[in-house]
């Protein structure tokens, strides 16, 4: 069955009392794509993750995964997704293998077929020799590997991961992404991750930037960066507000003061640096030029820093 999309979220809104956590969120993920939902904490990522994982009921809008509607066919949808939680979902009083077997049973797998799937899954993550060990004896990184193997045991067509790099050192993060890429290549698994890490977002084929409950922008990382017309100048100054106003007047720019530093997007930033230095030699403490990062895209789209709330 070839659908044009593996995940389709349309007009999903969610409120807790009067607080609107999600506001008409919509996006589609193609089969075999790695899609990242990037946003600061409190932006609505967790709510969206919980809705996609079927933990929260849908208040408004529709969610369709692998042809199953989250409202009318939640059981069918659940059988097609693998969910990897941010907080551990392993029973630490059970062995690695026992955890996997219980998980398989919940997905209707049993007997020799389940046993084979568990062996294969553990071998894949390099934990075959630890199968008989209690989960509580495993390091944080190994536990997350087991979480991943557990999420993949039922061979889901869509794998949903909530902040998968949490608690992993840089080496383990690299391994995780290498593993996810290999998985996509071999099984064609669609992968959906939520993250607040820019570097993690770089691994995704496409991104949706989620802020204050809305998708403010989406596309590949390059497309998103391309939305910024040029490079970024960051200027530090003790009189940031006054300098910003003067810059805007003199060079007809749209500089902004964000968290005490002046930020300016310009297609001709290199040239502009010299002009700024010449015009305001006393006021400029430091000035730096950079290629736009995803964080710049975030600021560009939302008008505020990624980290300031």
């Amino acid at each position: 069955m070839n659908r044009p999309f593996a995940v389709r979220v349309s007009n999903v809104s969610h409120s807790y009392g009067t607080h609107r956590a999600l506001d008409k969120v919509g996006f589609e993920v193609a089969p075999g794509e790695i899609f990242g939902l990037l946003g600061p904490n409190g932006g609505g990522k967790t709510t969206l993750f919980r809705i996609l994982a079927t933990l929260l009921p849908i208040q408004e809008g529709t969610v369709e995964i692998d042809g199953h509607d989250a409202c009318s066919d939640v059981s069918g949808l659940r059988s097609r997704i693998g969910v990897v939680f941010q907080s551990p979902s392993l029973d630490i009083k059970l062995t690695v293998r026992e955890n996997m077997i219980h998980h398989g049973h919940l997905y209707g797998l049993y007997g020799a077929a389940l046993s084979a799937a568990v062996n294969e899954g553990l071998a894949r993550i390099g934990l075959a020799e630890r199968a008989a060990d209690m989960v509580e004896t495993l390091s944080g990184g190994l536990k997350r590997r087991v979480e991943l193997a557990k999420g993949l045991l039922s061979e889901p067509s869509v794998l949903i991961l909530d902040e998968p790099s949490t608690g992993l050192d840089p080496g383990a993060r690299r391994d995780l992404w290498a593993y996810l890429s290999a998985l996509r290549e071999e099984r064609g698994t669609t992968i959906l991750v939520t993250t607040h890490l820019m570097e993690e977002a770089e691994h995704c084929d496409r991104l949706g930037i989620l802020d204050r409950g809305r998708i403010v922008s989406s596309g590949t990382a390059d497309t998103l960066r391309g939305k910024i017309g040029g490079d970024i100048l960051t200027i530090r100054s003790t009189g940031a507000d006054a300098l910003c106003a003067a810059l805007n007047q003199r060079f007809s720019q749209e500089a902004e003061v964000i968290d005490g530093t002046i930020r300016l997007e310009s297609p001709d930033a290199r040239h502009l640096i010299r002009q700024i230095y010449e015009a305001f030699p006393e006021q400029v403490d430091a000035i730096s030029l950079g290629r736009p990062t995803l964080e710049d895209v975030f600021i560009h789209e939302t008008g505020h820093q990624f980290w300031n709330e």
Binding site: Y16, R50, G76, D91, H103, L106, G108
Partner: protein, 267 residues
């Protein structure tokens, strides 16, 4: 490998029950909490109050109190098993259970069945100790007859615990309800003292407490018909009907509460 919905549900109930039992056996402190504490209560109160005379009781206090202690074992087991739902949901195995393709009824039944196996096992164990030579007049027949009663009581109390724990986000809240609601429910069930001779308002609470009939039913099951230990109890058939109704109601209530898988939680 395509399985029928019924088979998948039974497989889920089996696996959740199995997990519950294995966890229990691997956590020694839980064995102590659910078993040793009631037995200690029984020794302390049974001996301490052995001089007490209740006019409606025809056996020694220690023997009168004994079935009440069995019910306390069941109650504690149910509390320990269901309080784990609260932490398990945020940082534990329950998270993946909640997103698995199994009906809510199967998740509830897995918890209830696991609790029942543990509670009945411990209840029978304590009963068997009391039936040893030199103990009470509890024969093999009494032991066997108590099993279905213990099953009903376990289902009912696991259901009560689940209904309380499911929407809760802290175990402190559960402890508060345990002290303010569950312990009084047990104290006022004829388990600790007989209903006869209490003030009218207390008599009403005891009569309206569904656990009263469960405790009475356990007394009926442990002793031979006409034994002095069962004199003055409500009629057997009424106790049976009330206890079945209690179990069915809390089971239904649990499924109703658990339909909201997130338990009303905010992320």
């Amino acid at each position: 490998m395509k399985t029928s919905p019924l088979f998948s549900s039974l497989l889920a109930v089996y696996t959740l029950t199995h997990r519950e039992v294995v966890r229990f056996l691997r956590q020694r402190n839980r064995v102590f909490g659910a078993l040793a504490q009631p037995v200690l209560f029984w020794l302390i109160f049974g001996q301490g109050l052995s001089g007490a005379r209740f006019h409606s009781v025809n056996v020694g206090y220690s023997e009168y109190f004994f079935p009440g202690i069995i019910v306390l074992v069941v109650l504690f087991t149910a509390i320990f098993a269901t309080i784990s739902i609260i932490d398990d949901r945020n940082t534990g195995f329950l998270q993946s259970v909640l997103v698995a393709p199994v009906p809510t009824l199967a998740i509830v039944m897995g918890k209830v069945a696991g609790t029942t196996v543990l509670a009945v096992g411990q209840g029978v164990f304590v009963c068997a100790l009391a039936a040893l030579p030199g103990g009470f007049e509890i024969g093999l027949g009494g032991l066997a007859a108590s099993i279905p009663v213990l099953i009903l009581l376990s289902i009912a109390l696991a259901g009560v615990g689940l209904m309380i724990a499911w929407p809760m986000d802290s175990t402190q809240g559960f402890h508060a309800i345990m002290m303010a609601f569950l312990m009084p429910m047990w104290l006022l069930s004829g388990a600790f003292f007989p209903p006869g001779g209490t003030p009218t308002w207390l008599g009403w609470i005891i009569a309206l407490n569904p656990l009263t009939y469960g405790v009475a039913l356990l007394r009926y099951s442990l002793y031979a018909p006409g034994s002095p230990a069962t004199m003055g109890l409500p009629p057997f058939s009424f106790c049976l009907a009330a206890t079945i109704a209690f179990a069915v109601a809390t089971l239904g209530g649990s499924v109703f509460v658990a339909r909201d898988r997130a338990g009303g939680r905010h992320p």
